[in-house]
Subunit: 292 residues, 4 copies
């Protein structure tokens, strides 16, 4: 029998924390857990020497832990405030609720739903939102509610209001743009900062904006890529979570680049979703720290 | 005993040709060779369906070939003109004469000289040119003349004149910029079009210009790259010959990116030099066709 | 609009041929096509210098070709016999008929059906055969007949007889084993030589036989792989078509290896199926020549 | 200015420790360091859930640390014994003393010496040992003593005695076999267990033993590899430190595999040497834990 993954088990807590670097941080944080009966299963830390900032992810077993889940934030707050930390506490027994936005391309959605179906992600998908009806059958096949909200230049604000209401009604934690071909408003981006993951079909920062495969084809690159990143106000400029590349040659037509790129897009996006669902990503300004 | 590589043997000819696509090109070109007693060892062709252009590389044995090397161009010219072709004939028995330009970094030069020393490249290196004296000992160790020509904003034109004279005096076929940190003038670039190979320490077109590793570090990419390309008037815009990438993480400092990138740079440049020395590269506008 | 792939178009022919190497083969074969009005779109050839054997794939347009498809074999036979060639003629307008064999794992079948659905493969899938009923819903969703034929040590011969009858009734050209967990008999293998593609979940020849991920986990490798190959009498010893690898670390449990390996398996198998569906694979003894 | 690597600085300590897993290990170990004034710069831990074993690497600054380097082992011993730990303490200010063994191939030695020369490794190389005189000039160029000790089937034991005396006389910490083509005796292996790093020119466990490139060529693999591992009694069976792979095709002759493999060998071996020189490798039975 394969060894059980820690994330498959209920009853673990994850602390994600960053703060100005100082002496004794690992010691103080691990002691906080140890003194309350927690057993650390996984600890990963990083110091950004340029910014002088400390990042840590600790996963510990709640078995024999003396603080109930619902009181843990309160218990931890004084230490976090003393450290001037940005932080979050997650519980592996509570799955993130994730909305997926799509347009017409099915490959990324297909990939996410397949992995979701075989239990690769510790998430729930309460709804799929699309500006086109095309992928409804795929959602139906998986029994996930599919909301078609057409977008035009006139109704963009109304659409986002409607979308936000939907996300709130479904208690959504974060959003995946699985080749959703609409630009989101600054207000929406601001409200969901650090909680919207996109897939861009190029090796960023090369080929920002539209038609990156055509741009790549015309430039004659020998490698193409895909990039998963958090959405920010500036198009394709958000913190990068994951990237991958594949070799191409002069024999590859634009259609071949699109075909090869599809495989990159869905794998790179799936990795980013898994990383975020396991609470492995911290923001470091315009960059990410990914504890994989 | 390993089978002998065709390129190790003297006595093969290589035809590199491109022309507007039309019916029967492969047949006519292979027949030209066959009728004169040549035995085709390797043939690779490509049609660019967007440009409607045909590209071919044919390697054949000159054993029993009825046309002497020195008369082959004359013999082939009528057919080439009929096809409206750009073309070149090379002979594997005649090594290209290649000049290497360097500044202070030794890793690319070291790599080229080591490979040259063990016979990986079918080239001669009659001279190394540098704007700094630092790498003289490395050149001396390999017994290759090393010319120090300091460059300043005032003497750039004089330097290029001197350099050009050197290249001509040494009967140089093409030039490798092995981390040569000077921009070449449009006149020089024009004169040596398609004959100057550069290594840029990023995954072009990302991070053109100076300090690409710093740019990559600040952008927070998860993969870095290196690109070998022909020099053109526009900085870092020339036809790409070869690229490669390597994964990095948040743990990698700028110094780590530079260290990892060094390995990419030297391997990518070495591959480009090998490809060109074996006459495997054709230009297709701003792109390349690489018959590897 | 992307340039149309040659394979998307009807009306091309493909010649796959191998024979003892001799002078003028490329010329004679291309002339055969040219003289009958064919326009060569793609030609790739290779000489195995150890075996002294010549391999070629020629793709040409049948537009203006003077020989009808159904007479082409007859027309070509004399030349082929003179050359002592093994050869096959294919027409891109006629899709291969491919049967897929599965057991319980869905990922490879899912991948093939998804790609098939979006038109990546030039094949028809008239039936899926399985020794378990588990994947029936997936087949149903795609509207492909699904035949459950349970296998035990007692009924193996009867099963193969039944299977062979099914394949013949459906006029199947070749078979894909998409994680089909049964060993085929020597008689079946012999009958379908060079026409059954398997995916093995290791980097062959490492970890032949059962439980390759467990073997890899216990050996402590830092990279795992997957291999697609033609089936032969000896388990996991057939000619390799395609392989790929991915890095793993000490953090990866056996379950993680299985998860990462799944992605390799489905991509590697899909590539092999695409290559074979485009008639790009020739056998060279226990090895393959893949004209990609 | 690039941020300074922690390893470039003097005055850090590294603890490498493994022991049976139990509650509170991270807390107790980090507290040990914190209470004595140490500031943890880097901490990486791993639990093998199958073996129930805990592994940790802690790097901390000795600035303001209250225990002198020479007393630290004594200070730490009681805790280590209580935990039943296998452990080692290293100081980044003290470079490992590494002997390199070679035969006739120069590429791995060249790579190590070049990287050593530009300061990539935190090691000293007091001597190079070879059974052939061929690489003496390379050693001379770098000013490293080169000891030629020819080996035959008759004198193997005497050679190892002489070699051991040399290693002891030079106070060598560990040994790198940089394509050293001799099998070491069980007694030597036992004495230097976990301290001899080899490079094998295949993707282990594929192609153990002699002529792995020929084996790979004959098997027709589409990817070749290289493996760096610790030497044990059984040939090519030791714990794997690092591996890498590269794609090959039917076009690659045996000579091409050797050429491509050379690049893998030197990069994989160099990575293993860097990892070990930075005290990042722990043994886990027949496997390794590599904290990179």
């Amino acid at each position: 029998m394969p060894p059980q993954s820690p994330h498959a088990a209920a009853g673990n807590a994850v602390l994600l924390l960053s703060c100005p670097d100082r002496r004794g941080l690992v010691s103080r944080l691990s002691l906080f857990i140890f003194e309350r009966g927690g057993n650390i299963i996984d600890l990963d830390e990083h110091v950004d020497p340029v910014e002088g900032r400390f990042f840590i992810r600790i996963l510990w077993s709640l078995e024999e832990f003396s603080i109930p889940e619902e009181e843990l934030e309160e218990e931890f707050r004084p230490l976090a405030e003393e450290l001037g930390a940005a932080w979050a506490l997650r519980f592996t027994g509570r799955k993130s609720r994730v909305a997926v936005f799509v347009s017409r391309y099915d490959h990324c959605l297909q990939e996410l739903l397949w992995r979701h179906g075989i239990g690769e992600f510790q998430i729930e998908i309460p709804l799929i939102v699309s500006n086109h009806p095309d992928l409804q059958p795929l959602a139906d096949h998986c029994g996930i509610p599919f909301h078609v909200i057409p977008v035009s230049s006139e109704n963009r604000m109304a659409v986002e209001k409607q979308t936000t209401a939907l996300l709130e009604a479904h208690d959504v934690d974060w959003v995946v743009l699985a080749r959703y071909m609409q630009v989101l408003s600054p207000a929406f981006v601001e409200r969901w900062r650090g909680r919207v993951i996109n897939i861009h079909h190029s090796f960023l920062p090369a080929f920002v904006g539209g038609n990156p495969y055509r741009q790549a084809y015309e430039r004659g690159v020998k490698i193409i890529g895909a990039t998963s990143h958090f959405i920010t106000e500036e198009l394709d400029q958000g913190p990068i979570i994951e990237q991958d590349t594949v070799r191409v040659t002069h024999r590859d037509s634009l259609a071949d680049l699109i075909r090869r790129g599809r495989d990159l897009e869905r794998l790179v996006l799936a990795r980013a979703v898994r990383l975020h669902s396991e609470h492995r990503i911290l923001l470091n300004g315009t960059k990410t720290v990914v504890f994989d």
